[in-house]
């Protein structure tokens, strides 16, 4: 299964009586009806760990590109109308700023490791608190209430799974709690953010900017307001799009399929 295709529904499952396993690319499984698949006796696997560093790297790339206005800068540098570079054109500093990580799983933690090297102050919100060693290794401070994180962060980075609990986790209320100078970065799933509320927040300068590797749907309709806003960077879900990682994903999926067909324990099985 690559990028959520084919769509797995009742009709498809009924037409494939000998289907034993669905191997899904990437870590997210929100596009799969696990109960349905289980009722047909079909096993499911994903590729959870191999995507982590690429996604963490992309989260950092989005944060740096957004705050330093890389895309705008590039456009100025290559535009046929540019005669000189404006001297009063400034971005915001990443080094020393406060990063709030919502969802401190494998990917969130790797983001924290990277951000620490930029001397950032790191806050995090998670279902469960990490242990003391893990926290002090990256200098991360736990925020039991997401509000505290939102109010203090210069950058809010989302790296949660999409579940019924995280659906529209960031909505109007959360955006209004954020600083007007803050940037929202999303490398999780489009549906974790209330997109309409985000558009409004960006248009009314409730927050400063957003950088999104994921939207809902993907791709967005070509006339969607998010595509037109100057303070938004969108990338086409390239979180895992490197040659090496794609190869590793394929290898993982092949292993899972082979084990599934041989009736052996399945690596990366999703239960």
């Amino acid at each position: 299964m690559w990028y959520h295709r084919p769509v797995i529904n009742e009709e498809l499952l009924q037409s494939l009586p000998n289907l034993k396993i669905v191997a899904s690319s990437g870590v997210g499984i929100d596009h799969l009806d696990l109960k349905l698949l289980s009722s047909y006796g079909v096993k499911v696997s994903n590729t959870p760990f191999v995507v982590s560093t690429d996604t963490a790297d992309l989260g950092m790339a989005l944060m740096l590109a957004s705050s330093r206005r890389l895309v705008e800068g590039y456009q100025i540098a290559v535009s046929p109308d540019t005669e000189y570079f404006p001297a009063d054109w400034l971005g915001a500093e990443v080094s020393g700023a406060t990063l709030g990580i919502v969802g401190m799983g494998t990917i969130g933690y790797k983001v924290a490791e990277r951000a620490k090297a930029f001397e950032m102050k790191i806050l995090y919100h998670n279902r469960n608190r990490r242990n003391k060693e893990e926290e002090s290794a990256v200098g991360a401070i736990y925020c039991k209430k997401i509000d505290d994180l939102l109010q203090q962060s210069d950058f809010v980075l989302l790296s949660v799974n999409l579940t019924p609990q995280t659906h529209k986790l960031i909505g109007k209320r959360e955006l209004e709690l954020m600083k007007p100078t803050a940037t929202l970065i999303n490398t999780s799933r489009g549906l974790v953010v209330d997109q309409d509320a985000l558009v409004e927040a960006l248009q009314n300068k409730v927050i400063k900017a957003a950088a999104l590797d994921v939207t809902y749907p993907e791709p967005l309709p070509r006339d969607h307001p998010l595509l037109k806003l100057k303070n938004v960077i969108i990338t086409p879900h390239i979180g895992s799009a490197t040659k090496k990682t794609r190869r590793l994903m394929m290898e993982n999926m092949t292993e899972s399929i082979q084990a599934g067909l041989a009736g052996l324990p399945i690596p990366n099985e999703v239960l």
Binding site: D54, L64, F85, A117, R222, P236
Partner: protein, 282 residues
């Protein structure tokens, strides 16, 4: 008016300091530069007029290191190509067409390990990058160990092994066209060149050829020669190049800190005290 001028704060290389200007300002005591590079100043000429010079080395390092990392990450991940696809009106969803290269675990070669180069090493280490560096002199062992950096006395060794080559030197007669045809041919064809120092450190024509013929994979340039490039320059058209308009220290925080440093230098000079970041003609 010109007799009253005792100090000049140079902002983005303006005003141009030449013989004519210096002669017209008899009471000029100090020129404080915004930023660390002094290659736009004729140091000997200024010294001949008895005018002191200072730069702002401390404030620039984090911002410039951040710029270097931003360019490295953007060029590795085909960020801009992705962005254009994500927003373009004619988009068909063909995500497999372009893939980036990994940053985590890759080898970074830093040419010029001064304060900026070292801050880049600190950041790159957190991405589990393997770090090589080339410098006029090696750094102390402790400093090397803190970032896991291996010294390459000859630049060739670094060029042959690096996936990303980051140029962070001052522009001097020795570093002029430091990276030319020979150096680029030593680089891996899968490697990316990132320049955050000065445009003239890279042989620009050789770079165009190298990029067009696949001698190297890509380049990310925060600096060019001149700035901006002429609008018909080939570099502006190549798909495997990111150019940014000298972002180096263009943040509100850095600008503030640079100005503070400059003011300190100016006040010291006017009060006849030792100047914190004085630059002498060598």
């Amino acid at each position: 008016m010109s007799k009253k001028v005792q100090a000049i704060y140079l902002w983005w290389h303006k005003p141009v300091i030449d013989q004519e200007l210096l002669q017209s300002l008899p009471n000029l005591k100090v020129i404080a530069n915004s930023g660390v590079g002094m290659d736009h100043l004729d140091l000997k000429l200024v010294a001949n007029f008895g005018v002191k010079m200072a730069n702002a080395p401390c404030a620039v390092s984090s911002s410039t290191a951040d710029t270097g990392m931003a360019l490295l990450l953007a060029s590795a991940s085909v960020f801009l190509a992705g962005y254009h696809i994500a927003i373009s009106s004619g988009m068909e969803y063909c995500e497999a067409d372009f893939l980036g290269v990994e940053v985590t675990g890759a080898t970074l070669g830093i040419i010029g390990m001064g304060s900026i180069g070292y801050k880049i090493a600190l950041r790159a280490k957190a991405f589990e990058m393997n770090i090589l560096y080339h410098n006029r002199t090696g750094r102390k062992e402790q400093e090397e160990q803190a970032v896991g950096a291996a010294y390459c006395e000859k630049i060739d060794g670094l060029l042959q092994r690096a996936d990303f080559v980051m140029v962070v030197v001052s522009l001097t007669p020795q570093t002029h066209k430091l990276i030319g045809k020979r150096e680029m041919e030593l680089m891996k064809p899968t490697a990316t060149l990132i320049n955050i120092s000065r445009g003239a450190v890279v042989d620009q024509e050789a770079l165009v050829t190298a990029l067009q013929t696949g001698v190297i994979r890509a380049a990310a340039l925060d600096v060019t020669h001149p700035e901006p490039l002429p609008r018909d320059h080939t570099l502006l058209k190549l798909k495997n190049v990111i150019i940014t308009p000298h972002l180096g220290i263009k943040t509100d925080k850095a600008t503030y800190m640079i100005t503070e440093e400059a003011v300190e230098n100016i006040l010291a000079a006017l009060n006849g005290l030792p100047i914190p970041s004085e630059v002498l003609p060598s």
